[in-house]
Symmetry: C2
Subunit: 174 residues, 2 copies
DNA sequence: CTCACATTTGAATGCCTTTCAAAACACTGG
DNA sequence: CCAGTGTTTTGAAAGGCATTCAAATGTGAG
């Protein structure tokens, strides 16, 4: 079900991802989907969780690898950044942001997923720096968000490589 | 007209900002608004431009002031950041991001407004650092975006003051 | 005054989400 | 095997939305 929704999102974009259209594809009714997901936001949130879970699995592999900490950080960035302009995962994030204020379930999900990434960053940074790691992790996550939006919207003059350079620039010189 | 739309946005939020509702308030028809703004996105874009123009006026005052460069940078941040969680200007930005990929007019506006801020940053940074200022300005703008989203969505543990500290941390030690 | 052009209206279209009653289904204790 | 209870699923209905369109109204130049 989520797979079909994901395919729809990839093929036709956010605008065409409706409960009605999804119902048509799955040969069920929009009413049922509304019942099942609670609401359209529910669907979007489930989708986001679903794709994020996948990614977090990959993140754990990266973190557990024997590479140098800086290389693991680089790979974290590769996972975090949109893979290309219009990447569906980031489309979902950006779609949900304006609704976070009014929907407690979204708030919670955002906080939860943010924490995963921030903790991972903090662990890596603990290996790479001496000082207090929490503020640096917060700063770096904000930078990652900003860079991701720029990559998502295909900002001219920004490539994933350059984005990685920007992240590296936050690391203290050793 | 934009003023009324803005008020509506402030009072009732993004969800209730519709051409129909605006038509009711202005005692005109939704059809006319659609004709006038071209589309709903047209309205959102005009609104964003409108509020951004206001801000850019204030930015120019700040930039021209006699304060030290770092203080002018701080004031730029104050202007740039959302004034409070749910700040309408940032709601508009975030609402428009997912649509930037498909609407050339949005792309252009985004590029244009980004450039204003990035140039302002570059000018200030030229006073504060020696090296190549362009990449640093790009990096700082991405950080400002990320921090703004965090402030917009009321991320716990982040205040405007802390956000400013994060920005300052990008400045090279002198 | 007229004609061409722009604006405004209000209704129609076709979408959407959500709700709801009724039907179908699944399961449990007898 | 059956009855009864609770959950899913359906299909239609309600209500709202942006957009389109033909008709009506305004407007300004020659």
């Amino acid at each position: 079900m989520l797979q079909e929704a994901w395919d729809l999102l990839v093929e036709r974009g956010l605008a065409d991802l409706s409960l009605s259209e999804l119902g048509r594809r799955l040969e069920t009714s929009a009413g049922h989907l509304s019942y099942y997901f609670g609401s359209k936001n529910g669907l979007l949130l489930e989708l986001l969780r679903w794709s994020e879970d996948e990614l977090i699995g990959q993140l754990e592999v990266v973190l557990a690898s024997q590479q140098p900490a800086e290389e693991r950080l680089r790979q974290l960035c590769v996972l975090f950044f949109p893979r290309h302009p219009g990447d569906p995962r980031w489309l979902l994030w950006v779609e949900l942001w304006p609704r976070v204020m009014h929907e407690p379930s979204l708030r919670e999900a955002q906080r939860e997923l943010d924490t995963v990434w921030r903790d991972a960053l903090a662990d890596l940074l603990a290996e790479l720096t001496d000082g207090d790691v929490e503020p640096l992790a917060q700063r770096m996550l904000a930078l990652l968000d900003g860079l991701s939006v720029a990559l998502l919207t295909d900002q001219p003059g920004l490539t994933p490589e350059k984005a990685w350079e920007h992240v590296r620039a936050l690391l203290p010189v050793r």
